[in-house]
C-alpha cells in the first residue's frame, strides 16, 4: 500500500545550491532592516532617542513604537486573540523584545545604526518562575490590558472530574508525579525573516517570508493593516525548516512592511540566531502534575492532570480557538481508561510569547510525555514491566472507532500489534536479561518504552479555527491539453517533499506519471485558500484534497472519454489508468488522449464544459490518529552522568504511506528531536529574565554523534476517513520519542530509587538526580 519510493523532485535544485530561500530574494533598490531589542526582561521605557541613528549616512528610516502608534500599528493581534507589541511603546516585557527598527542601505550599516539608538529604561521586577506568576505580590506584566490586576491568562478543563475523583477515591493503587516539559525552541536552521515590497503605484504589497501558512498571513495582514486583501501577495519561497516556528506573524514582518511603505523601497529583514532563539516562537513550558489510579494487577482506571502553562508576555499560541491548551486533553493517550480529567491554567511571565510550536501537534507532545511518564511511574510502583503494563491497558483493536474519556474519536488502530513488533525488533526480553547482568556488575543500562497516539489533520472546521478562519484547505487541478497537470495547494512544504508526494497522489489517481504533475504552492496569488502546514495536517488535509480534486477530474474525464467512444459514461470503467468500455480494454483512453479531446472540437454532452480541471475544498470529517511504539536503549555513566543512546527502535503506523522513503525521513528527523529535547535542548532563564540559551553555543541541538542509527518498523492501519487511508506523520516521532528516552534513562537509574527526572538529562542533571539533589532545569542552575 504505497505510491512508491520516488526520489524527490525538490532535490534537483537543493543539491545544486539553487534553492530560493527568503534571504536569497534580492530586489532592485532593496533596503535592509535591523531590530533593536530590549536587554531587560521587564522595564519601563522612559525615552527613545533615535536621532544619531537617523543621522547615519546609510540609514533611510528609524521606526520606533511611537511611530507605529501614530499609524495604529504599535500593537497587533496574536493568534490567540490577545495583543502583542510590534515595537514597544510603554514597557518591554521580555528580554529581546522589539524596540526599534532601522532601515539602511546595507545590512552592516543597519546593524551599526542600532548602536546609535539611545533607549532609557527603568528596570522593573520580572516574573520568571511560572510557579510564582500568580503570587499576590507578583508584578503585573500586562498592565496595558484594561483592568488587569494579575498574570492569569486562562483556566480550562476537560474530561469528567467527578468520575475521575470517584475512581481515585476507591483505587487500590495511586501514583502522582510532578514533571516539567521545559521551554524549547524549534530552531530551524533558517531563521525567520521577510522581504516586503509595497508598490505605491499599484497599491500592491508583496511579502516574501518563510511562512508555513501563507494564506492565513495574507488575511491577517489585511485585517491588521487594513490593506485590501486582493492587494496583498504573500510568497513563501523555499523554507529552511519550520517545525511550527514559522506559523505565526512576528513583529519583524510587520516592521519590514511598514519600512517598505515608509521608504517606498523593498525592505529585507532577517533575524539572526540570537533573535530567533530569544523572541520568536518557543514551545512547551508546561509544569504538570499527573496522577493515575489503578488496580493492584495493573489496570489503569483513571488519570488526572493539573497543568501550569507558561505563555510568556503575550498569549500568542497558535491553536484552535476552542482549545487554549491545544489538544492536550488527548492525554489519556493510547490506553482504555474509564475516566480522565485535566485542568490547565495559563499565566503570563516575562518571557517571549508563542507557546505552541515545534512539531507538537497542538500540545500532544506534552500530553504523550505526561501519560507515558506516568505509566512508567505506575510500573515502578507496581514492580511490573513497563511494556507488559502497557499491553495490559492499550486500547484493543476491536474497540475502534474508540471514544476517549475526553471526547476524542480515535479512527483506527491495532496498538498491541505495534508494541509487540517494536519489542520483537528490539529483542526486548534479551535486552532485559542483558540489563540484569549489567546491573549485577554495577553498570547502568536503561530500556525505555513509549507508546503514542497522535491526533492530526485539523479540522473539521466546525471545531477548529484560528481567528475565525476554519481549518479546511483548497486544491485546484488543471490537466493541460497534452496530459500534463498542475496541482495548486494551500499548504506549504518546509522539507516534507510536497512537490513529490502530492504529484504522486495526482499521478496515481489520473493514471499519469508523477513527473507529469507540477505542484504549485507557497504563493497566495497562485493557490487556493487554506490554513497551511502545521499539526501534521498536509497529508491528512491537503493530501486528501489532492486525491478528491483528482477524482473530480477523473469523473470529468469519464464524460469526455464517453463522448470520444460514443458510449454512455455509465458503460465505462477505470482500469489500469484508462477509461475503457466495460469488458473491452482495447477501447481504453489515456488521460493524455482525453485531455487533448477535452480541449478539442469534440462535442460534449449538454451542460458539460470543456477542458479538464476541477477545484475542491476539503473539510476533514475527523482528525486522523497515527500511532506508534518506541523503544530506546541507553547506557549511563554513573561517574559522570553522561547518557549514551545505544539503540532506538521506532514502529510507526501512519496509515497508508504514500512515499515510504519520505515517511521514514520524517520519522528519522523527529527521533533526533526526541534525543535533543530529552538530553540537551532547553531555554532556561535567570532570575532577572536573562535568556541562558540565546545562541547555538548554549541552545544545544543534537549532532550526528548523539543520534544512533534509527531502527524502524511499520504497521499499516488505514484511516477510514481519509480518501487514500493516509494519516499524517510529520510530528509523530517528535511527539513519541522524548518519553522513550527519558523512560530509558530513568530505568537506568532505577537502582538509585529514581522514578522521575526532568528534561533535559544533561550530565550535570543526571548526576544530581543520582545523588538525590536535582535542580530546576528551567531556571539558572543554583
Amino acid at each position: 500500500m504505497s505510491h512508491g519510493r520516488m526520489h524527490r523532485k525538490e532535490d534537483a535544485r537543493f543539491i545544486r545550491g539553487r534553492g530560493n530561500y527568503t534571504d536569497d530574494v534580492r530586489l532592485p533598490g532593496m533596503l535592509y532592516g535591523a531590530i533593536l531589542r530590549s536587554p531587560y526582561a521587564h522595564a519601563r521605557i522612559v525615552s527613545v532617542d533615535a536621532s544619531a541613528a537617523e543621522a547615519h549616512p546609510k540609514v533611510r528610516a528609524v521606526i520606533i513604537g511611537q511611530t507605529l502608534a501614530g499609524l495604529g500599528l504599535a500593537w497587533m493581534p496574536t493568534l490567540s486573540r490577545d495583543t502583542q507589541a510590534v515595537l514597544a511603546t510603554d514597557k518591554v516585557r521580555f528580554q529581546g523584545q522589539e524596540v526599534a527598527f532601522v532601515v539602511a542601505e546595507d545590512a552592516y550599516s543597519a546593524r551599526d545604526a542600532l548602536e546609535l539608538i539611545d533607549v532609557e529604561y527603568e528596570p522593573l521586577d520580572a516574573v520568571i518562575d511560572a510557579r510564582k506568576a500568580l503570587d499576590p505580590d507578583a508584578p503585573v506584566i500586562r498592565d496595558d490590558l484594561e483592568g488587569r490586576t494579575d498574570n492569569h491568562v486562562f483556566d480550562w478543563e476537560a474530561g469528567d472530574g467527578e468520575r475521575a475523583d470517584a475512581l481515585f477515591a476507591q483505587a487500590e493503587v495511586t501514583v502522582a508525579q510532578d514533571m516539567l516539559y521545559p521551554r524549547v525552541h524549534p530552531a530551524p536552521l533558517e531563521t525567520c525573516g521577510a522581504v516586503a515590497d509595497f508598490d505605491k503605484v499599484t497599491g500592491k504589497l508583496t511579502v516574501w517570508c518563510p511562512t508555513q501558512a501563507p494564506h492565513a498571513h495574507r488575511t491577517l495582514y489585511a485585517m491588521v493593516a487594513g490593506l485590501p486583501e486582493h492587494k496583498i501577495r504573500v510568497i513563501s519561497p523555499d523554507i529552511g525548516g519550520g517545525f511550527g516556528g514559522k506559523v505565526g506573524i512576528y513583529p519583524g514582518y510587520v516592521c519590514a512592511i511598514v519600512g517598505s511603505i515608509v521608504t517606498g523601497r523593498p525592505v529585507k529583514w532577517m533575524e539572526d540566531r540570537s533573535e530567533n532563539l530569544m523572541s520568536t516562537s518557543f514551545a512547551r513550558d508546561y509544569h504538570m502534575r499527573g496522577e493515575i489510579a489503578a488496580t493492584r494487577d495493573g489496570r489503569i482506571r483513571a488519570i488526572r492532570v493539573k497543568v501550569l502553562a507558561d505563555h510568556g508576555a503575550f498569549n500568542g499560541t497558535a491553536q484552535p480557538t476552542k482549545f487554549p491548551a491545544g489538544f492536550f486533553h488527548v492525554f489519556s493517550g493510547s490506553y482504555d481508561i474509564e475516566a480522565a480529567h485535566c485542568a490547565v491554567t495559563g499565566v503570563y511571565t516575562n518571557k517571549a510569547p508563542g507557546g505552541v510550536a515545534y512539531a507538537c501537534s497542538f500540545r500532544i507532545t506534552e500530553a504523550v510525555y505526561l501519560v507515558e511518564r506516568m505509566v512508567d511511574v505506575l510500573a515502578a510502583e507496581l514492580g511490573m514491566d513497563p511494556a507488559e503494563l502497557r499491553l495490559r491497558n492499550l486500547i484493543r483493536p476491536e474497540q475502534f472507532p474508540y471514544r476517549s474519556p475526553t471526547g476524542w474519536e480515535y479512527d483506527s488502530g491495532d496498538y498491541p500489534r505495534a508494541l509487540r513488533l517494536a519489542m520483537d525488533l528490539a529483542g526486548y526480553d534479551k535486552l532485559r536479561a542483558e540489563q540484569a547482568d549489567r546491573r549485577a556488575r554495577g553498570e547502568l543500562m536503561g530500556i525505555g518504552v513509549s507508546f503514542f497516539t497522535e491526533a492530526v489533520g485539523a479540522g473539521p472546521r466546525k471545531h477548529m479555527d484560528i481567528l475565525g478562519l476554519g481549518m479546511a484547505d483548497g486544491a485546484e487541478l488543471r490537466v493541460h491539453p497534452t496530459g500534463k497537470a498542475v496541482l495548486r495547494v494551500s499548504c506549504q512544504t518546509q522539507g516534507q517533499g510536497h512537490e513529490t508526494t502530492f504529484a504522486q497522489i495526482v499521478g496515481q489517481e489520473l493514471g499519469i506519471p508523477a513527473d507529469d504533475v507540477e505542484v504549485v504552492h507557497g504563493d497566495t496569488d497562485q493557490t487556493p485558500f487554506g490554513l497551511g502546514t502545521y499539526g501534521s495536517r498536509s497529508t491528512p488535509v491537503s493530501g486528501a484534497a489532492a486525491a478528491i480534486v483528482s477524482r473530480k477530474v477523473r469523473e470529468r474525464a469519464r464524460i469526455v472519454a464517453a463522448a470520444m467512444l460514443e458510449a454512455s459514461p455509465d458503460d465505462l470503467e477505470w482500469a489500469d489508468g484508462r477509461w475503457a468500455v466495460v469488458g473491452d480494454p482495447a477501447t481504453g483512453r489515456s488521460m493524455a488522449e482525453i485531455a487533448l479531446a477535452a480541449h478539442s472540437d469534440l462535442e460534449l454532452p449538454e451542460g458539460v464544459e470543456g477542458h479538464l480541471d476541477a477545484v475542491t475544498v476539503y473539510n476533514p470529517p475527523n482528525l486522523t490518529y497515527p500511532f506508534g511504539a518506541y523503544i530506546c536503549v541507553v547506557d549511563v555513566d554513573p561517574g559522570t552522568g553522561q547518557v549514551k543512546v545505544r539503540r532506538f527502535v521506532a514502529v510507526d503506523d501512519c496509515g497508508v504511506r504514500i512515499n515510504p522513503m519520505i515517511v521514514e525521513g520524517q520519522i528519522h528527523g523527529g527521533l533526533a528531536d526526541g534525543i535533543g529535547m530529552a538530553l540537551m535542548q532547553v531555554m532556561a532563564f535567570d532570575e532577572d529574565g536573562n535568556h541562558l540559551g540565546a545562541s547555538f553555543m548554549d541552545y544545544l541541538l543534537p549532532t550526528a554523534m548523539e543520534c544512533p542509527s534509527w531502527e524502524l518498523g511499520e504497521t499499516v492501519t488505514p484511516s477510514p476517513t481519509h480518501p487514500i487511508g493516509a494519516k499524517g506523520v510529520g510530528e509523530s516521532a517528535t511527539v513519541g520519542s522524548p518519553a522513550a528516552v527519558v523512560n530509558a534513562v530513568v530505568d537506568a537509574l532505577a537502582p538509585y530509587g529514581v522514578r522521575h527526572a526532568d528534561m533535559p538529562l544533561t550530565p550535570a542533571n543526571v548526576w544530581r538526580v543520582i545523588n538525590g539533589n536535582p535542580f530546576r532545569t528551567d531556571l539558572a542552575i543554583p
Binding site: R16, G17, D238, G240, G241, H668, F696
Partner: protein, 157 residues
C-alpha cells in the same frame, strides 16, 4: 580593500570592507546563494565551503582572508553537467529535506571522500559532527555519503 578570490575556478576581484564575512562575499557580492548561514557562532555549519580544498565555516572567515585563495561552493560541485557522486548520493538516499544544511554537508562529504575514500559510519558521523541538520536525524545523510563512496569505489574498479 581590493581582493581577488578564486571561486569554483573563476577569479573574482572586488573592493570590500575588511569586516565583510566570506559568506556574505559569496552570497551578496557574487550572488552565489547556495551557501547559507544559520547562526552567529560557528556552530551550525550550514555556511561550510571549501577553502583551498578544506571545509571551513564561511561565517567565521573574513573575505579578505580568502584573498588569493581558492573557494569551492556547492555551485562548483557539478562539473560539465555531471553531478558529483555526493550530490547523486543525497538524491538516491533522501539525504535532504528542507535543503538548508545540504550545501555544507555536500562539501564536507566531498572532502571526506577525497581523504578517506571508503569511510565507515563512525567516520562519517564524526566528519559531519560540526554541522547541524534539523530534518533528517542524520541517518540518510550517512547513507548518502556511503552511497557516494560505494559509487566512486565502483567507478575506480
Amino acid at each position: 580593500m581590493r581582493i581577488t578570490v578564486s571561486v569554483n575556478g573563476q577569479p573574482h576581484t572586488r573592493d570590500v570592507e575588511p569586516r565583510l564575512l566570506l559568506v556574505h562575499f559569496l552570497r551578496d557580492e557574487l550572488g552565489l546563494t547556495g551557501t547559507h548561514w544559520g547562526c552567529d557562532t560557528s556552530n551550525c555549519g550550514v555556511c561550510t565551503v571549501q577553502l583551498d580544498g578544506v571545509p571551513v565555516k564561511s561565517c567565521t572567515v573574513l573575505a579578505v582572508m580568502a584573498d588569493g585563495h581558492e573557494v569551492t561552493t556547492v555551485e562548483g560541485l557539478e562539473r560539465d553537467g555531471e553531478l558529483d557522486a555526493v550530490q547523486k548520493g543525497f538524491v538516491e538516499c533522501h539525504g535532504l529535506q528542507c535543503g538548508f544544511c545540504t550545501p555544507g554537508m555536500l562539501l564536507t562529504a566531498r572532502r571526506l571522500l577525497d581523504t578517506v575514500p571508503d569511510p565507515d559510519e563512525g567516520q562519517i558521523r564524526e566528519a559531519i559532527s560540526g554541522q547541524l541538520c534539523r530534518c533528517t536525524g542524520y541517518e540518510n545523510i550517512v547513507r548518502s555519503i556511503r552511497w557516494a563512496a560505494a559509487a566512486e569505489g565502483e567507478a575506480r574498479r
